[in-house]
Amino acid sequence: MNAQVRTEMAPALPPPRRTSGLILWLRQNLFATPTDTVLTIVGALFILWVGPPLVEFLLTKAVWPGGTVEDCRIEAAGACWAYIGARFNFFIYGFYPIAEYWRPNVVFALAALLIVPLAMPKAPYKLINALLFFVVLPVVTVVLLGGGWFGLRPVPTDQWGGLLVTLIISYVAILGSLPLGILLALGRQSNLPVIKTLCTAFIELWRAVPLITVLFMASIMLPLFLPQGTSIDKLLRALVGVTLFASAYMAEVIRGGLQAIPRGQYEAGASLGLGYWQRMGFIVLPQALKHVIPGIVNIFIALFKDTSLVSIVGIFDLLNTIQAGTSDTNWFSPHQAVTGYIFAAIIYWIFCFSMSRYSMFMERRLNTGHKR
């Protein structure tokens, strides 16, 4: 008999206190093994080597807005932020008429006002909010930016540019590709041969073509096939191209999510008498989409950056305006171009990183924890 038999139940105890302290943390995380120690030292040296010059270039020796081009031309000068400040409006609005800047500003403000409560799970009026953001906002944007109604001066889309265009293309492509991708993914799983074949063919066709080819086809080839005299707006063509392109990728990611849903879920829905769209809408898709949030956001982020490819067909998005800015001789200085690209990188990073963090937040929030 080697087991100790309890005569009374053992009480539940709190866990032992975690030992902490800086030295202990250092030893456990940075100097645990000889290899760790070497890597820590190499890493520290690298930071010492790269860090100070970087800080110097970007901050301490940089020329800040208010500075002049002469300051930027001094040999020891760092980043020329004064140039960014001077051409800021160009990078945000492109060739949009200066007198009409209030119109994009209203659109920006509306978008920000709508997306913040939409992104907060606890904010009320979700349905109205969503309708405003997904339906009313696009209409307002087209009317306000394009003009031609209500005495607004028409502004053709080739004058739109900068961050404004980057955001418009991203908004349309992201919001268009998700529902399209869902329909394509469901279609590819359909029992109806015609729908299945059409969806599969669409997905495989668009996935097999580079986005640049799609944009070239849309902006250069398409007009050749259209009857003389008809023309479709260049920006619109790019929008459709990017959206369809993204939806093919989206469809495959969502199909992965659909495959992760156990057959029992479909069957339980069916046995309760729910129809196909009810089963998909209430049971299968909410779970499938939750599984593939990382994949979906991955596409969103890639898409946001891929919008810069529209510069190839002559649309002035953020990167293209910055590119164009480098030839501005008024600000000719050693770091003019580099500063522009760093500025572009910072803007792209802010948007992409926000999307990434928000998706992680949603993943945690939607996690009801347990399968089945």
């Binding site: 069916a270 008498g273 009810q278 909410p286 399968k371 089945r372």
Partner: protein
């Protein structure tokens, strides 16, 4: 396991357990089904009257699950007729949905919707299939949750419940559609031994209320207490059918005798 071990020891109230002489709940005539080349159900003929409690037993792979899954067309049959509540199951989706509305099903693995709370699990179909107002559907749901004795779990998610609780929720979810027939596909096979009884209790009380039930189960105690007929299947065929007492004490077919000797000791 003895025949009585897992069933309840209480007396069954048989006052409402009446089998209709005229109303047919399910009628299966000359039904055949294949999975690819495999002939899984062979010439099945079965008539179930309203109020009957039928237990379907048999070795694994004998086709018993497939048989009851054909009754709400989770599986399609290729030959013969299946008529449920007077509606024949064909490829006509409208009729299929009509039948599914009136036939509840409880699965081996519960198949609750993990992203919805218990209450939402129970009200989804009544609201969207029956068109019942949300308040009313929730009241009905709470009534059935009380019946299966877990009203306090209404706002939790399925993953927070034990297996036995989940299966009781699954039964309540079916009942919320006020079905006329209930199908049970091995409802206790995936449960921990301690939880089998709480599920069987609920099934017994359903039987006491006169529900028409078809149960695929290995709970022979339940069969003996509640069923009015036991059907034994092997190799896709019904090879024996009898009242429970006779079925257990005097099995006719060699395969039935072997099966019973394997599971009852």
């Amino acid at each position: 396991m003895t025949t009585e071990a897992t069933a309840t020891s209480r007396d069954i109230d048989r006052s409402h357990m009446t089998v209709s002489q005229t109303d047919v709940a399910v009628e299966i005539i000359g039904m055949n089904k294949w999975f690819g080349d495999f002939h899984v159900l062979r010439d099945i003929n079965l008539k179930v009257m309203k109020g009957e409690r039928i237990v379907i037993a048999g070795p694994s792979g004998s086709g018993k699950s497939t048989l009851i899954r054909c009754i709400n067309r989770l599986e399609e049959h290729q030959q013969g007729q299946i008529i449920v509540n007077g509606t024949e199951l064909t490829s006509d989706l409208k009729r299929v949905d009509e039948v599914r509305r009136e036939v509840g099903m409880v699965f081996q693995h519960f198949n609750l919707f993990p992203h919805l709370t218990i209450l939402q699990n129970l009200t989804l179909a009544p609201i969207w299939v029956r068109g019942i107002a949300k308040d009313e559907a929730e009241q009905t749901a709470m009534k059935y949750l009380e019946r299966v004795r877990i009203p306090e779990q209404a706002l939790k998610f399925p993953g927070q419940l034990s297996g036995g609780q989940q299966q009781r929720v699954a039964i309540a979810r079916s009942l919320c559609m006020s079905p006329q027939i209930m199908l049970f596909d091995e409802p206790t096979s995936a449960l921990d031994p301690e939880m089998v009884k709480e599920v069987l209790e609920v099934m017994i009380s359903l039987a006491e209320e006169g529900m028409t039930m078809l149960c695929v189960t290995h709970e022979m105690g339940f069969a003996r207490q509640v069923a009015n007929r036991v059907i034994f299947m092997d190799q896709g065929q019904i090879i024996e059918e009898n009242e429970p007492d006779a079925f257990f004490s005097n099995p006719q077919h060699e395969r039935t005798k072997l099966f019973l000797s394997q599971i009852l000791h």
